[in-house]
């Protein structure tokens, strides 16, 4: 039982990091990214590839974060002034393209089988000590991302992003470099998501193309919407709620007479219904992002 709760708690930490990485761009920058899972994948695969090549997990984690940040910055530059719909579809296309390439390059990424035997971040431990170490590590990673997110929220970049979200022409007229602000937040967001992906890959010692399905981004987006777009605390609260519902309902199979794909569908259905319910009844989420007075 303890292991089950620890497992869910670690997953909550990973998803909370991804949700924060999403909320700083969609809430902050007003961009809806449907392909955030691509950054998670970059992090996961670089940890797996580095670890299997004997170059060390931490080096892989760092490399993943750097590559994802670069990819995010580039995406922001290329996306330039893409309107909301175009931006959302482009990000989805980029993520799906990455998933296709990963599924088809057997030599480097293991193709559909994925990569196993990823070394743990914390050396070899056993039993309860191992579970506790992983949990502590997950919380430490989450804390680092939360601190970075809060710092961003209060920084000049964070303020610029909020103005861009509310009124992009106004932001441009105020002298804010819109493309630069968006690119920089995408780089940060990419690095945060890559950390989450890298940590997860090392934690479960496996990475595979099924972790890059668009539904993963939808899951993180649901957390962001439920928690309240643009709020760091909201993303964490959303991650706890959605993850408890999504992975806490695995035991349904014990007393429901359904095939495993139907149980999976039922859990997905729950998440989708909750997302729709919030969008219709409480579109600003649990923790509303009110306009705030800032000291400059």
């Amino acid at each position: 039982m303890f292991d089950y709760f620890a497992w869910i708690a670690i997953l909550v930490c990973c998803y909370a990091m991804i949700a924060i990485s999403l909320t700083i761009q969609s809430g902050g920058g007003g961009m809806i990214n449907l392909g955030q899972v691509a950054f998670v994948g970059i992090g996961g695969y670089s940890v797996a590839i580095f670890s299997r090549a004997g170059l060390g997990v931490w080096a892989g984690l760092l490399a993943g974060a750097v590559i994802a940040a670069g990819a995010g910055y580039l995406l922001g530059r290329l996306g330039r002034t893409l309107g909301g719909v175009y931006w959302a579809i482009t990000t989805l296309a980029v993520a799906e393209l990455l998933r296709l390439i990963i599924s088809n390059t057997d030599t480097v990424t293991g193709g559909m089988q994925g990569l196993g035997d990823v070394a743990p971040l914390w050396g070899e431990l056993h039993g309860t000590a191992n579970t506790l170490a992983r949990l502590a590590m997950a919380l430490a990673f989450l804390a680092a991302v939360v601190l970075a997110g809060v710092h961003l929220d209060r920084s000049q970049l964070g303020r610029s992003l909020r103005i861009i979200r509310e009124n992009e022409p106004l932001a441009a007229a105020l002298g804010i470099d819109v493309v630069s602000a968006k690119s920089r937040v995408l780089a940060l967001s990419g690095a945060a998501a890559a950390l989450a992906g890298g940590f997860h890959a090392s934690d479960i010692s496996f990475v595979g193309p099924d972790q890059l399905l668009p539904f993963q981004t939808f899951l993180a987006l649901t957390m962001v919407v439920i928690g309240g777009l643009g709020r760091i605390t909201g993303a964490v609260v959303g991650a706890v709620i959605v993850e408890a519902i999504y992975d806490g309902t695995r035991f349904f199979r014990d007393f429901l007479d359904l095939a495993s794909d139907q149980i999976a569908a039922l859990r997905i259905l729950l998440v989708g219904v909750i997302m729709l319910g919030f969008l219709l009844l409480r579109p600003k989420g649990i923790i509303v992002d009110h306009p705030r007075r800032v000291r400059v």
Binding site: G30, I32, L34, L78, G79, R80, T81, L82, G83, G84, V85, Y86, A88, I89, T90, L92, A93, V94, E96, L97, L100, I101, S103, N104, A172, F215, F218, L221, T222, V225, L258, A259, D261, Q262, A264, A265, L266, I268, L269, V271, G272, V273, M275, L276, L279, L280, P283
Partner: protein, 295 residues
């Protein structure tokens, strides 16, 4: 080197392009009149396909297909009244996120009811026949014939009937259309029904030609959005041309052969994505042209 003959390539592009064009035309019509990029549009195809498969035991296939399309459109109308009408008031992005949620819910419900294994309409093995130099099965010929007729009919409806004129008026400027006495609500309802019907036909024909899975529609999301965006969101003719264009490009790229090493078929969707990404990079606001330019 290209390994396939031109007739084969064209037949391949016609089958694939017709499926995409039916969906892209509806998507672009809905965007033109409501400023709504409906991700759940693809689910009309899935619902139509599954309704037809369920009914094919009771009715003969054409009747089952018609009822299946009606079921899809009716469900679409219900979802519009319950969900999208309210989300569209909030803005373009909440509506798009909401439509993604609807899409996820519809797929989950179908998988819950039917399981994830492919389902099809029981039929006998088909004899491949040669049409204009290309090998095609009768159901592929039927798919192309039905789709092209539906596309032409819709195009004629938009071009030459009073209803079509109203649709184009709303698309051009909803406010001006309203003050000129065009009933916007009725136009929007009609467009919604036409778009849903076209998508359902596409899904039904696809299921008859091969089989249906819960992700039947969602798997077409990116090719369809590519076609609609490359054609210029809101432009019906552009969407149709781009659909066949993307399909032809896919056929040609997959037929390429570099000294024995061909591009694997699993990369098929990637061609559409790459096409879309390039188009967006070089024409950031779509092919409709830039409304605002930063100097």
């Amino acid at each position: 080197m290209i390994t396939q003959q031109p007739p084969e390539l064209i037949a391949d592009a016609l089958v694939r392009g017709s499926t995409i064009a039916l969906l892209a035309m509806g998507l672009t019509l809905v965007y033109a009149t409501m400023r709504f990029a409906n991700v759940a549009h693809l689910e009309f195809a899935t619902v139509g396909a599954y309704a037809t498969i369920s009914l094919s035991g009771v009715f003969i296939v054409p009747v089952a297909g018609i009822i299946g399309a009606v079921v899809a459109v009716a469900l679409g109308a219900a979802v519009y009244e319950l969900v999208f009408r309210r989300l569209l008031v909030m803005g373009e992005m909440p509506a798009m996120i909401g439509s993604l949620a609807v899409s996820v819910v519809v797929q989950a419900v179908i998988q819950l009811a039917y399981g994830s294994r492919p389902r099809n309409v029981p039929h006998e093995l088909e004899q491949v026949s040669t049409v204009l130099g290309a090998d095609m099965t009768p159901s592929q010929v039927q798919l192309v014939a039905v789709s092209v007729s539906a596309l032409v009919l819709t195009g004629a409806l938009l071009r030459w009937t009073p209803l079509g004129r109203k649709v184009r008026a709303v698309a051009a400027n909803a406010e001006l259309a309203r003050v000129s006495g065009v009933g916007e609500r009725r136009v929007v309802a009609t467009v919604w029904a036409i778009a849903g019907g076209l998508a359902a036909i596409s899904g039904i024909e696809l299921a008859l030609e091969s089989s249906a899975t819960p992700a039947l529609g969602f798997n077409l999301l990116l090719p369809v959005f590519s076609a609609a965006i490359v054609g210029g969101l809101g432009s019906v003719l552009g969407a149709v041309i781009a659909s066949y264009g993307v399909a032809l490009l896919e056929a040609i790229v997959l037929a390429l052969d570099f000294d024995g090493s061909a591009i694997p078929v699993s990369y098929r969707p990637a061609i559409g994505f790459a096409f879309l990404i390039l188009a967006l990079i070089f024409r950031p606001r779509g092919l409709l042209g830039a409304k605002v330019r930063i100097v």
